[in-house]
C-alpha cells in the first residue's frame, strides 16, 4: 500500500508544484499586499500593515474627515454581476438553440460546425473587439444596415454603452456556452426523446421535460464558464463600453495602473475571488438538491 501511495504522490507532484507556485503563492502574496499601506510613489510600503484597503470598499472620508458609507464600489460589483448574468443568459439563449441544431446534423457537418464555433479563437480577442467597434459605431455596418432598411432613424448610438459591452461579451463567450451544452446534448440517448414523444409529449415539452433537464450539467458548466471570466472581463468593457461604466476588471486594472493603489487593487481582486467561490459553492449545492428531488 505504501508503494501505491508514493506512486500517487509522484504522479500528482508536478501539478501540485505548479499550483503551489503559480496559484497559491500569488494568492497569498496578493492577500499580503492587500493589507499593506500603499507606497507614496506607487507600489506598497512593505511591512506596514493596515486594513485601509478593505475599509475603502465600503467607506470613504467626507470633506470633514468623517468616515461615511460609500456605495460606489458596491455598485460596480453589482453592475459587473448584472452584466455577467445578462451575458450568461444571452449566451444560453443563443447557444442552446445552436447546440440543439448541431445535434441534428450529420456527423461531418457537425464537425464542420464545431470548427466554425471555435474559429474566433484563432484571432486575438483585442482584434475581434476592435472589429466590433467598426461594426457598432455610428455610420458602421450595423448602423448603415438599420438605417438603410428604415428600421431606425438617425444614428444608432450604441458604441460606448453597456449595450455594446453586452454584445461584445456575448460574442466573446458564446463558444464557451455552445461547446459544453453541445456535448451534454449529444450524450442524451435519442431513445429517451422518442419515448417522450411516444408518451404524448409535444416538441416543447420534450424539450422542457426531457432534453433540458438531461442537459442541465452541460448548461451549468456553460454558465460557469461564461459567468466567471465575464465578471473579470476587461477588454470588452474597455473597448466597447469606452471604459465609461467601470467594471470590476477595469477597476482592478486601474488600481495597479493609473490610481497606483496596489493594496486596494489586491483587496478588490481577493473579494472577487471570494464572492465567486461562494456563488460556485451555492450553485453546486443547488444542483445536488435538484438532483435528489424528483
Amino acid at each position: 500500500m505504501i508503494g501505491q501511495r508514493t506512486h500517487k504522490i509522484v504522479q500528482t507532484a508536478p501539478t501540485m508544484v505548479f499550483l503551489a507556485v503559480f496559484m497559491i503563492a500569488p494568492l497569498v502574496l496578493m492577500a499580503y499586499v492587500s493589507v499593506l499601506e500603499r507606497g507614496a510613489f506607487g507600489g506598497v510600503a512593505w511591512g506596514k500593515l493596515t486594513g485601509v484597503a478593505y475599509e475603502k470598499l465600503l467607506m470613504e472620508h467626507d470633506l470633514l474627515g468623517n468616515l461615511v458609507f460609500n456605495g460606489d464600489y458596491i455598485s460596480i460589483f453589482a453592475r459587473s454581476f448584472e452584466l455577467a448574468a445578462i451575458t450568461s443568459a444571452l449566451t444560453l439563449a443563443v447557444g442552446l438553440p445552436t447546440a440543439l441544431y448541431m445535434t441534428t446534423l450529420a456527423p461531418r457537418r457537425a464537425t464542420m460546425m464545431l470548427f466554425l464555433v471555435t474559429l474566433p479563437f484563432w484571432t486575438n480577442l483585442l482584434v475581434r473587439n476592435f472589429a466590433w467597434i467598426l461594426i457598432l459605431r455610428n455610420g458602421g455596418q450595423l448602423d448603415r444596415f438599420l438605417q438603410g432598411t428604415g428600421l431606425t432613424r438617425g444614428p444608432l448610438d450604441i458604441l460606448y454603452t453597456p449595450v455594446a459591452t453586452g454584445i461584445g461579451l456575448t460574442y466573446s463567450f458564446l463558444p464557451f456556452m455552445i461547446l459544453p451544452v453541445y456535448v451534454a446534448l449529444q450524450r442524451i440517448d435519442p431513445r429517451l426523446i422518442e419515448a417522450a414523444f411516444d408518451l404524448g409529449a409535444d416538441r416543447l415539452r420534450v424539450l422542457t421535460r426531457v432534453v433540458i433537464p438531461l442537459a442541465a450539467p452541460g448548461i451549468a458548466a456553460g454558465v460557469v464558464l461564461v459567468f466567471v471570466p465575464c465578471l473579470g472581463a476587461y477588454v470588452s468593457p474597455e473597448l466597447l463600453g469606452g471604459g465609461k461604466s467601470l467594471m470590476i476588471g477595469n477597476l482592478i486594472e486601474a488600481q495597479f495602473g493609473a490610481s497606483r493603489n496596489w493594496p486596494f487593487g489586491a483587496a478588490l481582486a481577493l473579494v472577487l475571488v471570494g464572492v465567486l467561490l461562494l456563488s460556485l459553492a451555492l450553485l453546486s449545492r443547488l444542483q445536488r438538491r435538484t438532483r435528489r428531488t424528483p
Binding site: R191, L192, E194, F197, D198, L199, G200, A216, R291, P294
Partner: protein, 362 residues
C-alpha cells in the same frame, strides 16, 4: 367491428438500403388481441412496429388505428404507447414521475394522476419503489416500470419491442406470464415483437411470421406450429425434420412418398398439389415420431430405419438423433418411457403417422 390496427400494403425502404424493410405488408389486428410479430432479425418486424408507433411513415400503403387513417400523425397524437427494448426510462425522474409522465402530458388533474400512478404501481408490484431512480432498480424492476409507464395512460394499443430480451431466463418466464395477465386485465391490444419462437407460441393469440419484409403466415400458435405455410415457417417455428422425397402414388389427397435418403415409404394425409414422380420436402415434428417394434417388416409404410448416433436426455423426454443414408438428419423426441433402451449405434425403426407429415414443394 373495426380492427384495432389495420395495415394495408405498407411498404418502406430506408434511404440507401438495397432491399425494402417492408415489402407490402397487410395485417388486421383485432381489439384486445395479444398479437406477435415473429421473425429473425432484419425481417422488418421492428420497422412495422415503428410505423404503428408513428416514428416512421410508410412509403406506400395505409395504417389505420381504430378505423382512422393515421397518415403522418406524430407519435404523441396516437393512442399507442411503446415499451422499448432498452426500456428508455427517464433517468432524471423517479419511478413515480416516469409512470406519471404520459398522464401529465394528457393534462390530467393532480389527484387523478396520483391515484392512477398508485394503481399502476400496485398492478405491476412496484409498491414502495415510487421515489427510486431507474438506475437504482434491478433489470426486472426497470422492465416493470417501463411497462407501467406505457400502460398508465391506458392507450388503445401497447407496442412491445423485444421487451424481455435483456432478462435472464427465469425472470423472462415470470414476465411472460405477467404480460399475459396484464393484457387480460387491461384489455389493451398488445403488439409484441420477438425473434424467440417459443415466447411467441407461449404468449400470443395470433402470430405473424415475417421474413425479408413480408408476412409469411398469420395464425394462432397451434395453427402455425401444426400447419406451417411453408418451409421457412416450418423450420423457424419449433423443431422440424425435413426429408426430401418423391411421390410414388396417390389416392385422393393422400400420397405415398419414397424418401430420397433411404428406401422407406412415408404416407402423408395431405400431399397437396404434388404430382406422381415429383420431388417434395416432407416435414415432421420430432415429437410426432414414435418408436416402432424392433422386428417390424422392413417394407412397412411409415417406418423409417435410423441408425442412432446421439441421444440427449432432458428429464421429461429423450431426443434421439440420427442420419439417413444420404446424410439427412432426423430427430425424434420420445417420452422417457417410450424410449426403452435405445443406445447409440443401434438401428431403430421410427414410425411416422400419416397425419403428422406436411408436404412442401422443395
Amino acid at each position: 367491428m373495426t380492427a384495432a390496427i389495420g395495415i394495408s400494403a405498407v411498404r418502406k425502404t430506408f434511404p440507401g438500403a438495397e432491399h425494402p424493410a417492408l415489402a407490402g405488408v397487410s395485417l388486421d389486428i383485432a381489439e384486445n388481441e395479444f398479437f406477435t410479430l415473429l421473425g429473425p432479425s432484419g425481417c422488418g418486424k421492428t420497422t412495422l412496429l415503428r410505423i404503428i408507433a408513428g416514428f416512421e411513415t410508410p412509403d406506400a400503403g395505409e395504417l389505420r388505428l381504430g378505423g382512422v387513417a393515421m397518415g403522418t400523425t406524430p407519435p404523441n397524437k396516437r393512442s399507442v404507447n411503446t415499451v422499448f427494448q432498452s426500456y428508455a426510462l427517464f433517468p432524471h425522474m423517479s419511478v413515480a414521475a416516469n409512470i406519471a409522465f404520459a398522464l401529465e402530458m394528457l393534462g390530467r388533474p393532480r389527484d387523478a394522476i396520483r391515484a392512477r400512478v398508485a394503481e399502476v404501481m400496485r398492478l405491476l408490484r412496484l409498491e414502495g419503489l415510487g421515489d427510486r431512480r431507474p438506475n437504482q432498480l434491478s433489470g426486472g424492476q426497470q422492465q416493470r416500470v417501463a411497462l407501467g409507464r406505457a400502460l398508465a395512460s391506458a392507450p388503445k394499443v401497447l407496442l412491445l419491442d423485444e421487451p424481455l430480451s435483456a432478462l435472464d431466463l427465469k425472470l423472462r418466464r415470470d414476465m411472460q406470464i405477467e404480460l399475459k395477465r396484464l393484457q387480460a386485465e387491461t384489455g389493451i391490444t398488445f403488439v409484441f415483437v420477438t425473434h424467440d419462437q417459443e415466447e411467441a407460441l407461449t404468449m400470443s393469440n395470433r402470430i405473424a411470421v415475417m421474413r425479408g419484409g413480408a408476412v409469411m403466415q398469420v395464425g394462432g400458435p397451434a395453427e402455425i406450429y401444426d400447419r406451417p405455410a411453408d418451409l421457412f415457417v416450418a423450420d423457424f417455428i419449433g423443431e422440424a425434420n425435413l426429408m426430401p422425397a418423391v411421390l410414388v402414388d396417390r389416392k385422393g389427397p393422400q400420397g405415398r412418398f419414397r424418401l430420397t435418403g433411404s428406401d422407406a415409404l412415408v404416407v402423408a394425409n395431405d400431399a397437396g398439389t404434388i404430382g406422381v414422380g415429383e420431388p417434395a420436402m416432407l416435414m415432421v415434428r420430432p415429437e410426432r415420431i414414435g418408436l416402432g417394434p424392433l422386428n417390424a417388416a422392413p417394407c412397412d409404410v411409415g417406418v423409417i430405419a435410423l441408425r442412432v448416433d446421439a441421444l440427449a436426455y432432458s428429464g421429461s423426454d429423450l431426443m434421439l438423433h440420427g442420419a439417413l443414408a444420404d446424410g439427412t438428419r432426423l430427430r425424434a423426441r420420445l417420452s422417457g418411457a417410450a424410449a426403452g433402451d435405445a443406445a447409440v449405434g443401434d438401428t431403430v425403426e421410427l414410425i411416422v403417422p400419416p397425419d403428422a407429415v406436411r408436404v412442401y414443394r422443395p
